[in-house]
């Protein structure tokens, strides 16, 4: 207890700007590289101080009050109800209350009104959207790989939804951790559970990977490094990456430990190698009924293919008899660069070819079986990007003829033909294709059909052909697409797990001694899970991370919860619990929270509830004079921190004010259809958490307001106030659109039509800021409107300026 107070006094006694220097110097000197570091100690025995019992029953408050007393500071006053209401809505759901929601609470005079409000918010699906996003920051979640050639990760959104659902259902954190590290290895009772667990295993594969790296050994070691880093940071608040090249300089993590873990991840397959590599995709489990249906569909499809093949053979035979044949583009001679493609369906043979080079050429030549008149039909595939002026020259017995072919079809990409006409052919015939310069030119084949028939059974054959073609058409039309088996990005154990060699100075190609697979030697004892020889060890790793002997995980999680609620952690370096991180301002309090987390079976909601219901959380954001003087940085949480709205909350609040926000209580599962990251246009409506996270393209509204870098695991976002943000709010099309909609909504019939300007202003303030305007605010706005009308400025435009100013204002952008 003395020690705790000494730490606090030490913290408060040193000047603001050099706090960190002194602190880190202090901790590094005290036990450089040693294992005797507070974070590695077992959770301490609980001994809540008596504190000021008159003030609060909450254990949390007693710890805090004890520190305040020791230092001699007074807490702030309690926050007023409107302030508290707004604060708790943003903290738990990321949204402000609507006018109706506000009224419900403000008119509830029961003493437990706030506790019931907290329960309502914790039960709301909005909770998981808010708190799930906190975890997505840590999981460096994204839907594209970033790196040199950014690849889209089309099933990553399932992982996002898994996280949101996990927070909504208050999945115990130990289970949550186990599923993300080894979900693919866990047994399951129901198909749903199996799907969830496999989806969770995307965690290891979601990192920023440069799949085109040509040195594949290097690539594998980089992926392993990223995985070790994110596991260390997300679950234990440790920066393990340092030990890749040398023993950790500050924490007791030798390189051996790093490669012991690397062996586990090296025995886990994440990558599929190719020139540009890719990731492991695994089918989601399906029910036995689904399996039977699929097998039936599969059999039917096979049957259909067999029949079609048979009929096609008959058709070919009849055509041959009739003297008709088709040359595939493979048989054309080409000059210049022609690329093969299969993207527009319905082509002849195995593919078609295209070029964008006007100087390219393609030539079909063939020996004419019998001098006569023939129809020549050109095959291609149409598309909006095609040339409208492809020139096709037919050399026939009487000279040559050139036909222009328009291959562009603005509506529908499809296989297409063009009848070039009837020609007299003898000996050798030649058709040359000259591409246009206004788009792509396609070659897919050439059909030659005699016009006069010489065979006796001509009529019979023609009618047979027509019938067969009709049947083929019908059969093809009846074809139902097989439901693709859903595959998700995940990992799997290598068939032959193996230990890994230390890489000397981190060089992927410099092999040192082999290290048996395992975890951090620091936190292991005889009870620790063991890596079985025939397994990668991932499951054991997951078990170890949430095991009794590892005190880090519970502390890290409890500290993050505190951080999200108070704006600062008890340990302010939320992602670094090592020697280079900061000390907890009160270790007893942190351990108490960790203890409570475990007591609630690792469920977060009861812990959040307890913290939010403490008096400390409900304090005003204006410090008492003593706290302002003695603890200006608020290390002791004697008042509430004023916080800037984070990117998503700002986005959501703007859309809520404009009436555009779509809240969906049903399963929010949705998948953005993205063809390429470059040029992707974001559309707005759902909450920001559902916007696709692309590593090379972040929506400006998020990027401007410190949306985390999806390449890095970040437990604490920066919160800057920059001129670029001001410019965004003043000039961006995003904000303009929200302002227009919000103004239309405000001035529409049901809210403010036929009402006075002052009444409109009240509606606007209640909606946007959750309070009525002050006298002065009314005066400023009314004066502004009056000036506008003197200058004959449209009332709507004047109101837009007011709405935008409110969105840009301090009370909208900050929570007190």
């Amino acid at each position: 207890m003395k020690a705790a107070q000494a730490v606090i006094a030490n913290l408060l006694g040193i000047s603001l700007s050099f706090q960190l220097v002194t602190l880190t110097a202090f901790s590094a000197d005290a036990s450089r590289g040693g294992a005797d570091h507070w974070a590695f100690d077992p959770l301490s025995e609980l001994s809540p101080p008596e504190g000021r019992t008159d003030w609060s029953d909450s254990v949390i408050d007693r710890y805090l009050a004890d520190n305040w007393q020791a230092v001699g500071i007074e807490p702030a006053e309690g926050a007023d109800r409107r302030m508290l209401l707004r604060r708790v809505y943003f903290a738990l759901t990321g949204l402000p209350p609507t006018i109706e929601q506000a009224r419900e609470f403000l008119e509830d005079a029961e003493p437990d009104a706030f506790a019931r409000l907290v329960d309502r918010l914790l039960a709301s699906p909005r909770f998981g959207e808010r708190w799930g996003r906190h975890w997505l920051d840590v999981a460096r979640y994204a839907e594209s790989s970033g790196g040199g050639r950014s690849l889209l990760l089309p099933t990553a959104w399932r992982y996002r939804d898994y996280v949101i659902d996990a927070f909504n259902s208050d999945k115990p954190f130990d289970e949550f951790a186990r599923e993300q590290i080894a979900g693919d290895l866990l047994p399951y009772d129901s198909v749903e559970q199996g799907r969830e667990q496999l989806t969770a295993a995307a965690f290891l594969a979601l990192g920023p990977t440069n799949y085109e790296l040509q040195d594949k050994t290097q690539l594998e070691m980089d992926v392993i490094d990223e995985q070790i880093d994110v596991i260390g940071q997300a679950f234990m608040g440790l920066t393990l990456g340092c030990a890749r090249c040398h023993d950790h300089k500050f924490d007791p993590i030798p390189t051996r430990d790093y490669y012991a873990m690397a062996g586990i991840l090296g025995s886990t397959q994440t990558l599929l190698h190719d020139n540009v590599s890719s990731w492991v995709k695994r089918p989601l489990p399906i029910t036995s009924r689904e399996r039977i249906n699929r097998m039936r569909e599969f059999d039917e499809a096979n049957e259909r293919i067999l029949r079609l093949t048979r009929m096609q053979k008959q058709i070919d035979a009849i055509r041959l008899r009739l003297g008709q044949f088709t040359l595939d583009d493979q048989q054309a001679e080409t000059i210049g660069s022609w690329q093969s493609s299969r993207s527009v369906a319905g082509f002849q043979g195995k593919d078609y070819r295209y070029t964008n080079d006007p100087k390219a050429r393609a030539v079909y030549t063939w020996d004419v079986p019998r001098g006569d008149q023939y129809e020549i039909i050109l095959h291609y595939t149409s598309h909006p990007n095609r040339s409208k002026r492809v020139e096709v020259t037919v050399q026939h017995a009487e000279g040559s003829a050139t036909v222009a072919v328009n291959q562009r079809n603005p509506r529908l990409p499809a296989a297409a033909t063009k009848n070039l006409g009837a020609f007299t052919l003898s000996d050798t015939a030649r058709v040359e294709i000259r591409p246009g310069s206004d788009g792509a030119t396609v070659i897919d084949g050439l059909s030659i059909r005699p016009i006069h028939q010489h065979t006796g059974d001509h009529e019979l054959a023609t009618s047979q052909l027509a019938k067969l073609e009709e049947r083929v058409k019908r059969l093809e039309a009846a074809e139902t697409r097989l439901q693709p088996i859903e595959r998700v990005m995940a990992v799997r154990d290598e068939p032959l797990p193996a230990d890994l060699e230390i890489r000397i100075r981190g060089d992927a190609h410099q092999l040192g001694e082999v290290v048996p697979r395992g975890f951090l030697s620091l936190i292991q004892d005889m009870h620790s899970p063991q890596v079985a020889r025939q397994a990668s060890g991932r499951l054991a790793l997951a078990d170890w991370i949430v095991s009794e002997e590892n005190p880090l995980t519970a502390r890290v999680v409890a500290n993050r919860v505190w951080h999200h609620l108070f704006g600062r952690g008890i340990v302010r370096t939320v992602d670094n619990f090592g020697h280079m991180g900061e000390q907890p301002v009160d270790k007893r309090l942190l351990d108490y929270l960790a203890f409570r987390l475990k007591e609630h079976d690792w469920r977060l909601k009861p812990l959040i509830r307890e913290i939010v219901l403490s008096k400390a959380w409900q304090l005003d954001s204006r410090p008492s004079a003593s706290a302002q003087e003695l603890d200006p940085d608020n290390r002791l949480f004697a008042w509430q921190r004023i916080r800037r709205l984070d990117a998503e909350s700002l986005h959501d609040a703007m859309l809520l004010l404009s009436g555009e926000l779509q809240l969906d209580d049903a399963s929010p599962t949705q998948q953005a259809i993205i063809h390429s990251e470059y040029g992707y246009e974001f559309s707005f409506g759902p909450r920001a958490v559902y916007l696709p996270v692309l590593r090379n393209k972040t929506p400006e509204i998020l990027a401007a307001f410190d949306f985390p870098n999806a390449n890095l695991s970040e437990g604490a976002r920066t919160s800057s106030t920059l001129a670029t943000q001001a410019l965004f709010i003043m000039n961006s099309p995003f904000v303009s659109k929200r302002v227009e909609r919000a103004t239309d909504r405000l001035l529409s019939r049901d809210s403010c039509d036929n009402k006075s300007d002052v009444q409109c202003l009240f509606t606007l303030y209640e909606r946007a800021l959750g309070r009525p305007p002050t006298q002065n605010e009314q005066r400023i706005a009314i004066q502004f409107l009056a000036n506008g009308s003197d200058q004959k400025i449209d009332r709507v435009l004047a109101w837009r300026a007011i709405v935008q100013s409110i969105m840009a204002s301090y009370d909208f952008r900050y929570i007190r």
């Binding site: 040199g148 440069n210 920066t239 090379n696 890095l712 400023i780 301090y810």
Partner: protein
Amino acid sequence: MPFDMLSIENVNRRHLLRQAACGFGSVALAGLAHADAASESAQSMSSGCHHRARAKRVIFLFMQGGPSQVDTFEYKPLLEKLDGQRRHFQDARKLAKTGQAGQERIMKSLWKFSHYGETGHAVSELFPHVAGQVDRICFLHGMHTSGVAHGPSTLFLHTGATNLVRPSMGSWIVYGLGSENRNVPGFITIGPSSANGGPRNYANAFLPARFQGTALGRAEQPVEQMRFRHIGRSGGMASSNALNRREDFELLQALNREQTARLGSSDEAEALIRSYELAWRMQMHAPQITDLSGESETTRRLYGIGDKPTDEYGKQCLMARRMAEAGVRFIQVNYSDNSSNPRWDQHNNIEKHADHARAVDKPIAGLIADLADRGLLEDTLVWWGGEFGRNPFAQNNDGRDHNPKGFTHFFVGGGTRPGYVYGATDEFGHEAVSGRVHMHDMHATILHILGINHEQLTYRHAGRDFRLTDVHGRVVEEILA
């Protein structure tokens, strides 16, 4: 100068930031993060951090795709003699993929080399205008780098890492030196590509957000259409709004003041109000640097503006000069596009190099001459180069594959030795054999020129101190005047 130069607001604070910005105080900077986040304070450094600076700013002419050294600035007569013959080469791509290399067919340059200037350096006919400036140029023929594919090597060029997420060099420089003029961004990239790392090439990674590069337009966008985001020429609130803009802005600030008065002010509220004031000033000033209308016809012609092949890059280069004058620290002028086989990437048909050379030659020469005329070469470092070079042997009959093992970059000004040639590749032009300069060394050297010790410019993140040069980097003293 058309821009308001910085006024010093708070000497103590500035002093603190100055230390913080210069590396050894990186921990102090982290400690300041919360206070600093609340206010964007201007920092100015005119004389370097750790030693005397030779240059205050950099203009980087990025040749995306990898121009061929043996077809441009490093003459290898042996290629003509041995053209078509097969020899064993340690090809970087084959080695990375298979661990083995083999026989390759030597391919001579399609272009004639002639000697230029007093120094008599040989330049191919691809760059006749740059050739006219050789006496001002310091060539580095012994460049080599990491990565073989565009993505990794482009990221390495910009961030010093092929795969790991690291801050861009421009961000490091602005972090180290601050900005000369707080009404314009300190790090601007003109027409950046969205491919091969895209925004990561000018992103701040773990450095604070204010050090990120500001993109002006994007690759393949006509220069006329390039604008800073959210800074309209007319400025002001709600673009669809016809109100007097100044009045709108005053309304906003009046409401903000009223809100802070209601419950008492706070650091956060004051930072917010200041951020709007700064935004207003930037809005007034930034559009001027992209506005070329005041440039004389002579100047425009010097840069090749008005002639179709050189018009676009010429305008970009002229904008770069205006940015240099305005005090932007790091200006990148991209010759790039958005494809995964970028501009100079001639795997076949090396003849296309001629199109690219034509587009950039006159603008670059014009920029060098113009900077020299205006005395700006004294404290501006011009840096030219791509993510790697190309092989002296053939690929796909008439092309050349990537070559990270030997290629050319060049410097002009900024206290580098004019008319100087440093380093060389082997007799074929394949691997750097003398005066070898790894991209890490390049980074260290540029920081050195700016007065920064690359080993001391650090930032603490995730428990350790990071550097642009990681644990590498040698300052190439030999090229300093």
